[in-house]
C-alpha cells in the first residue's frame, strides 16, 4: 500500500513537472519557415545559434514554428507567461501587440550598419515614434500566370488590368478554369486576398486618422464588385467564399486556376517546378485605378516579458548584422531590407518579384487591424455567396468595425 502510494505520488509529480516550461538564461527566438526548405532552414538557424553563442557567450535557442495558427500560439504563450524573448512579427500585428503592452521598443538597436533601411519598412514598424521591429527581410507579392491555360483558352496577351481580367474570365470559364484563384476563408489574412484589390481600386481599410473604417467607400465596393462579377462568370473557384490557401496544393500550382493576384515567391517557384518555367509568367501587380500590391518587412520584435532584455538586444544586433541578413536573403529568396543593396536576382521569378517591389504596401497598420479583418471577412463571404450585395456587405461590416473603433 505504502509502495503504491509512493509510486502514484512520483508518477503524478513527474506528470505535473513535465508540463513546466524550460527556464534558463538562453535567449529564445520564435522563428517561422522563412526558409521554405526544412533542411536548409535548420542548417541556417543552427549556424546562427552557434555564431551568436561564439560571439557573445550567451546561449541562443531558435524554436522553429509553423506559420499556421501563429498568432493564436503566440497569444496563448504570452498569456501563459511562457512566450519567447524575440519573435518574428509583421507590421500590421505590431500596433496591436504594442497596445496590449506586449512589446519593448528597439529603436536603439536599429542602426543597419553601413546600410540604409527601406524608409517604408521602418515607418511600418513604428508606433507613436518608437520602432518596435527590426527589419530582417522584405517580401512582396505579385501576379503569377499559368500561360498554358490562357493559351488553351485562346488568350495570348495575359491580362494585367481588372478590365482585361474580366474580359478573359468567360473564355477560361468555358474551359472549366477559373481565371483567378481566391481564398475567402475567414482564416485567411485579407492582406493577400481582398486588401490588394481594395488598394488597387484606390481605397483604404481605415480613414487617415484611424478613427473609422474606410473600406465601404465606392472604391471598396468597386473592389468587391470585381470579385463578385468574376464569381458570377465562373472566374473564381466554386468554393472561393470559404476556400483556404494551400501551401502544398495551391490551385495555380495544380492547374486549377489560371492566375493569382498576390502570390508569394516560394509558391511561384512551386508553379515553375510543376508547370515549367516556359508556362509560368511572373507579372506586375494588377492595375485597377492604381498599381499596388502587398509586401512587407519581416521584423524581429522584443517581447516585454523577455527574461534577459539586454542579452536579447545583443541577439537582435547580431541577427540584423549585414553578414547574417545577407545569408538569410540568399537562403530564403526574400529581398534585403535595405535600399542600398541589390536584390539577389538569380532567375525570372526573382526578376518578376523585384519589379513588383516598388509598388509594395505593408498593410494598413492599426491596433485593431486584425480584429477588423475578422469582422470584415464573413461579410465578404456573404457577398461572394450572393446573399448580400457588395454595398450591403461592406456597409454591414463598416458598421461593426466602426462600433469597435468607437468602443476603443
Amino acid at each position: 500500500m505504502r509502495r503504491t502510494a509512493a509510486f502514484v505520488a512520483v508518477a503524478l509529480a513527474a506528470t505535473l513537472t513535465g508540463c513546466g516550461s524550460q527556464s534558463d538564461d538562453a535567449v529564445t527566438l520564435w522563428m517561422y519557415p522563412v526558409i521554405a526548405d526544412q533542411t536548409q532552414s535548420r542548417a541556417y538557424w543552427q549556424k546562427v545559434e552557434a555564431g551568436f553563442e561564439a560571439e557573445h557567450g550567451v546561449r541562443l535557442r531558435v524554436e522553429l514554428q509553423p506559420w499556421k495558427g501563429r498568432e493564436q500560439k503566440l497569444g496563448a504563450a504570452l498569456m501563459a507567461g511562457n512566450g519567447p524573448d524575440v519573435v518574428l512579427l509583421q507590421p500590421d500585428l505590431i500596433p496591436q501587440y504594442v497596445e496590449e503592452k506586449a512589446l519593448l521598443p528597439v529603436s536603439e538597436v536599429l542602426t543597419g550598419g553601413e546600410h540604409t533601411y527601406r524608409p517604408s519598412a521602418v515607418d511600418a514598424l513604428t508606433v507613436q515614434g518608437e520602432v518596435y521591429g527590426l527589419p530582417l527581410y522584405q517580401t512582396v507579392t505579385t501576379t503569377v500566370y499559368n500561360r498554358k491555360l490562357f493559351a488553351e483558352a485562346g488568350i495570348t496577351d495575359l491580362p494585367d488590368t481588372w478590365d482585361e481580367v474580366k474580359a478573359a474570365a468567360p473564355k477560361l470559364a468555358a474551359h472549366g478554369i477559373p481565371i483567378l484563384d481566391y481564398a475567402g476563408s475567414t482564416e485567411e489574412t485579407l492582406n493577400m486576398t481582398f486588401y490588394p484589390l481594395l488598394w488597387q481600386a484606390g481605397g483604404t481599410v481605415f480613414n487617415s486618422d484611424g478613427t473609422k473604417s474606410a473600406f465601404s467607400s465606392p472604391q471598396g465596393v468597386e473592389a468587391l464588385r470585381f470579385l463578385v462579377d468574376l464569381k458570377a462568370m465562373g472566374g473564381l473557384p466554386r468554393d472561393a467564399a470559404t476556400k483556404r490557401s494551400e501551401l502544398v496544393d495551391d490551385a495555380v500550382v495544380g492547374g486549377r486556376a489560371a492566375m493569382a493576384h498576390a502570390m508569394v515567391s516560394s509558391t511561384a517557384r512551386n508553379v515553375v517546378n510543376t508547370i515549367g518555367a516556359a508556362n509560368t509568367v511572373v507579372g506586375a501587380p494588377l492595375r485597377g485605378r492604381k498599381q499596388v500590391t502587398f509586401g512587407q518587412p519581416g521584423a524581429l520584435s522584443l517581447l516585454r516579458k523577455a527574461k534577459n532584455p539586454e542579452a536579447a538586444k545583443k541577439f537582435l544586433s547580431y541577427m540584423t548584422s549585414p553578414k547574417v541578413v545577407e545569408e538569410l536573403s540568399v537562403q530564403s529568396g526574400y529581398f534585403l531590407p535595405w535600399t542600398d543593396a541589390s536584390p539577389p536576382v538569380v532567375d525570372e521569378v526573382d526578376k518578376g518579384f523585384a519589379q513588383a517591389l516598388p509598388t509594395a504596401r505593408a498593410g494598413d497598420a492599426h491596433p485593431q487591424a486584425r480584429k477588423a479583418m475578422a469582422l470584415l471577412a464573413p461579410h465578404l463571404q456573404a457577398a461572394l455567396l450572393g446573399t448580400r450585395t457588395p454595398e450591403q456587405a461592406l456597409a454591414d461590416a463598416a458598421g461593426e468595425v466602426d462600433a469597435l473603433l468607437q468602443k476603443r
Binding site: V8, Q96, E100, S185, R244, L385
Partner: protein, 271 residues
C-alpha cells in the same frame, strides 16, 4: 477501523484521477472564473472589471448568434447520433457471425484522426457545395460529427442491449410479440440508463463542438457555423479579449450544466 481502511483504499484508487481532474479541469476553471472578471491582456497587465465581460456578452450580437447556432447543431446532432448508434447496436447484436469484425469496423471512425477525417469529408462534400451554403453547413457538420462519434455511443448501447435477458425476449416471442413490440416495450425501457448516458454525453460534446468547425469551416460561411466554443476561441486567441473569452466559456459551462440537469430530471420523471 475496517471502514476507515476501506475508505482509504477507495481514496487511494481515486487519487490519481482526483489530482489530474483538479490540476487540469478544476483549477483551470477557477482560473477562468478569475480571468472573467478582469481585462487581462497578453502583456500581463489587468484590472478588475466586475461583471463587465458578462454584460458585454449579452450586448454582442455574435455571441447570441453563436448560442442559436450551437442549439441548432445540438438539435440536429443528438437525435441523429442516438438513432444511428441505436440502429447499428441493434444490427450488431443481431448479426450471427463476424460481430467482432463489424464492431471494430464501426468503431474505427471514433479513433480516426479528426483532421484527416475532416479533410476527406471536405472532399466528399465539395461537389454538392454543402459546406459553402449557410443553410446546409450545420447538417453537413452534424453528419461528420455523428460519423466520427457514433462508435462510442453504439458500444454503450450494445452493452445495454446485451444486458436484456435473452429468455425474456424469447418468452415474449413465444407469446406472440412482434419485433416492434419487443423493441418498444422490452428493449427500449431496459436501455433507458444507457440512453440517458449517451444523450447527456453527446449533448455535452455537441455544445462544445470546436475541432470539427476549426478544421472544416472556421465558423463560416458567413458565420453559419460560428458556435459558442468557436466564439470562445476567437475572443481569446484572435481578439486577445481573454476576460470575455473566459466569461463566454463559463456561460457555456453554465448552459451545459443546466441542460444536463434538465435531461436528468426528464429521465427521472419518465422512468
Amino acid at each position: 477501523m475496517r471502514r476507515l481502511r476501506e475508505l482509504l483504499t477507495v481514496l487511494a484508487f481515486l487519487l490519481p484521477v482526483l489530482v489530474l481532474f483538479g490540476a487540469f479541469r478544476f483549477l483551470p476553471m477557477l482560473g477562468a472564473a478569475g480571468l472573467s472578471v478582469t481585462d487581462y491582456r497578453p502583456g500581463g497587465d489587468f484590472e478588475f472589471v466586475g461583471a463587465e465581460n458578462y454584460a458585454g456578452l449579452f450586448e454582442d450580437q455574435y455571441f447570441l448568434a453563436s448560442l442559436r447556432t450551437t442549439l441548432t447543431y445540438v438539435a440536429i446532432y443528438v437525435p441523429l447520433i442516438l438513432v444511428v448508434a441505436l440502429g447499428t447496436a441493434l444490427l450488431l447484436h443481431s448479426v450471427p457471425w463476424g460481430r467482432g469484425f463489424f464492431r471494430a469496423a464501426l468503431f474505427a471512425p471514433y479513433v480516426t484522426s479528426l483532421v484527416l477525417s475532416g479533410v476527406i469529408w471536405k472532399w466528399l462534400f465539395e461537389p454538392a457545395g454543402l459546406l459553402q451554403d449557410p443553410s446546409t453547413v450545420l447538417p453537413a457538420l452534424a453528419i461528420v460529427g455523428v460519423w466520427k462519434g457514433f462508435g462510442y455511443a453504439m458500444l454503450i448501447l450494445l452493452a445495454g442491449i446485451r444486458n436484456v435477458p435473452a429468455d425474456c425476449l424469447e418468452a415474449a416471442t413465444v407469446d406472440g410479440a412482434n419485433v416492434w413490440q419487443r423493441f418498444r416495450h422490452m428493449l427500449l425501457p431496459s436501455l433507458r440508463p444507457a440512453m440517458f448516458f449517451v444523450v447527456v454525453v453527446e449533448t455535452i460534446g455537441a455544445f462544445q463542438v470546436f475541432d470539427l468547425i476549426y478544421v472544416m469551416t472556421t465558423g463560416g460561411p458567413v458565420r453559419a457555423s460560428y458556435t459558442l466554443a468557436y466564439a470562445v476561441y476567437q475572443y481569446g486567441f484572435t481578439y486577445f479579449e481573454v476576460g470575455k473569452a473566459a466569461a463566454a466559456g463559463l456561460a457555456l459551462w453554465a448552459i451545459v450544466l443546466l441542460v444536463s440537469l434538465t435531461q436528468r430530471r426528464a429521465f427521472e420523471r419518465n422512468p
